[in-house]
């Protein structure tokens, strides 16, 4: 059992293959950016790729935006050290997609233009609603960005031997270049390249693992159970308290339908039918990916061993890279490391673009300039916002160096589920929704999530090392999602306005038939 405990690994030393693959990825994506820059002249091209992305392409891009290095390395690591429990995340990260498909994708595509706030504000007062939605978007994007940047710095340090700060700056500069010059067209193609690389890497690794077990995953699980006991095939300690599991599940399921960078993708396709098809492809790809990470986790458990994995990195995050090295040597490790780096780069580019869209399209155009803005000015503001966000992301990455930020992905999902998702759903479904109701629900959804996560064991015990926490749940979604819905409904009932309700009929019609496209 401890046979492999001192596995020899080259992780931590500079890996030439990884550096070569990574440089190749940067070269190809910058080439794409150059090509895209010449096609990015209007706001519609900058934010929405001119609405010319095909469903299959958008399906890959959605998968690329969604499959983060955290889920690839994190789930494989969790499975390799605990077994079954990783499956809770594998399923949780997938089940939000049908919700996006059934409830959100088509009305969003038909009603909106560039951001999800277009849908919420469709028949309400523009300025207050967009101010509140910018808050929710920036909160979601910031925490997601911090988690990705800190993860990137740590990962690159471990795999390429570069310093943490250098890694952060490289990621930040590449991401700024994609978004600033190539807008949504470049970002979409970076996602597609990344998704193909990540899915290919995971598939090769899965086939290599299964080839040692007669291509039969059950034989692999049996080998794991023989070595580490049947307990690895059963639910373990991850779900100690039932309410914690349900709360996390709610954040993952409904948070997906409130992630600004995911929602923005539906504007890149020509119509509602294409939006629908693209979610179908994305769900297939993402589901396959999470099934593969589960197999990879068990592969690492059997072939590398949990002790050796924890020895290299206590969180277990190096399980998949160690497995790659064991099966394919240093060269394959280099390939997987470069893929993980590319993965982070693509995700932060998507996040930055959605943040820039909220700042320019929602905040600048509709709140500060009250809708009277030339297209050229809007494009300029979007580019300034991109650079500003990129610089902020680099600074946040450096500031949070060495901090435990793993909880921030869960926090980003909780804010998306509690601030953005209820507002979207009520705006789509309910005639009686009002401006005051929308603002109250989005602001309270954001603030209550932030306050409760601060008071939760996640921050008080895991980060601040206090003995107790005031709020019992690790993820607050179980409380904050119903709270946000309740506040949205109660405030709307108290401030009912005939005019806003009457305008719902027109909104319903546009959700069904689509609006005429305008430039600007």
């Amino acid at each position: 059992m401890t046979l492999l405990a001192q596995v020899s690994t080259s992780i931590g030393e500079p890996n030439r293959v990884a550096i070569a693959f990574f440089c190749l990825f940067i070269a190809v994506t910058l080439g794409i950016t150059y090509w895209a820059a010449r096609r990015t002249r209007t706001t519609e091209q900058f934010y929405a790729a001119g609405r010319t992305i095909r469903p299959g392409q958008n399906g890959l891009a959605l998968a690329g935006d969604y499959m983060s290095a955290a889920s690839f390395l994190g789930i494989a690591g969790l499975v390799s050290t605990t077994g079954f429990d990783g499956l809770i995340y594998s399923t949780g990260w997938l089940v939000g997609w049908p919700v996006v498909l059934f409830l959100i994708a088509e009305p969003l595509r038909n009603l909106g233009k560039y951001t999800f706030a277009d849908v919420v504000a469709a028949r309400l007062s523009q300025a207050p609603v967009r101010l509140a939605s910018t808050l929710g978007t920036l909160a979601t994007v910031s925490f997601y960005l911090i988690a990705q940047m800190v993860g990137a710095g740590g990962l690159i340090k471990l795999m390429f031997g570069l310093s943490y700060e250098t890694a952060i700056v490289i990621v930040g500069l590449a991401m700024i270049a994609y978004v600033l010059f190539g807008g949504m067209i470049a970002t979409t193609w970076v996602q597609i390249v990344k998704a193909v690389l990540l899915l290919t890497g995971a598939a090769i690794l899965t086939i290599l693992v299964l080839s040692r077990f007669g291509m039969n995953p059950i034989a692999l699980f049996r080998a794991a159970a023989e070595r580490y006991g049947d307990a690895v095939l059963a639910p373990g300690r991850l779900v100690a308290k039932p309410l914690d599991a349900i709360s996390l599940g709610m954040a993952l399921m409904f948070g997906t339908a409130g992630l600004p960078h995911i929602l923005m993708r539906f504007y890149t396709v020509p119509d509602a039918k294409a939006a629908r098809k693209s979610v179908f492809y994305a769900t297939g790809l993402i589901g396959a990916f999470y099934l593969m990470t589960f197999v990879l986790g068990f592969g690492a458990m059997v072939l590398v061993g949990p002790d050796a994995i924890r020895h290299v990195e206590p969180g277990g995050n190096m399980a998949a890279p160690l497995l790659a090295e064991f099966l394919g040597g240093r060269a394959f490790l280099g390939f997987i490391a470069a893929v993980a780096f590319a993965t982070i780069l693509a995700v932060v580019a998507g996040l930055t673009l959605s943040g820039a869209a909220a700042l320019s399209h929602d905040l600048w155009v509709h709140v500060i300039r009250r809708g009277h803005v030339e297209a050229r000015e809007q494009l300029r503001v979007a580019r300034i916002a991109t650079v500003a966000l990129g610089v902020v992301a680099i600074m946040l990455g450096v500031t949070f160096k060495g901090q435990n930020v793993a909880f921030m992905v869960g926090l980003a999902f909780a804010i998306a589920a509690s601030a953005n998702f209820p507002a979207l759903l009520l705006a789509i479904f309910w005639r009686g929704y009002t401006t005051a109701g929308a603002v109250a629900s989005m602001v309270l959804g954001t603030v209550s999530t932030l306050v409760l996560i601060w008071l939760s064991p996640t921050v008080q015990i895991d980060v601040l090392k206090h003995a107790t926490a005031w709020f019992p749940l690790k993820n607050p979604a179980l409380v904050t999602i119903p709270l946000s819905f309740a506040v949205g409904i109660i405030v709307s009932l108290l401030t009912a306005r005939r005019q806003e309700a009457d305008a719902f009929t027109g909104v319903e019609r546009r959700m069904q038939l689509g609006a005429l496209e305008h430039e600007g």
């Binding site: 997609w97 498909l101 049996r222 159970a225 059963a234 639910p235 779900v239 039932p242 399921m253 039918k273």
Partner: protein, 91 residues
């Protein structure tokens, strides 16, 4: 004539919401059912069906397969039935 078309469009939208909400409810029940079993019935999920395959792993994989099936079903329904009806009314 336009009143008829209006009513038909509204009925069609209502039909889509009915299908969408029903499928959402199925997904919610399946996933939170799985989570509830993990939370409250750990020994049951740990039971082996064949050596190497526990009920928990089988159900988890089935949740993923059901996710695929539900999205496939909806997209097929919407691409054929819903779009055809909408196209007729648009003319």
């Amino acid at each position: 004539m336009t009143l008829d078309r209006d009513a038909e469009l509204r009925a069609l939208a209502a039909r889509r919401w009915k299908v969408a909400l029903l499928l959402t409810a199925v997904m919610v029940v399946l996933y939170f059912g799985f989570i509830a079993l993990i939370a409250f019935q750990k020994p049951l999920l740990g039971r082996l069906i064949v050596p190497g395959l526990s009920l928990g792993i089988l159900l988890g994989a089935l949740v993923i397969v059901c996710t695929w099936l539900l999205t496939w079903f909806y997209v097929r329904w919407a691409n054929t039935r819903y779009d055809a009806a909408l196209h007729r009314l648009k003319e």
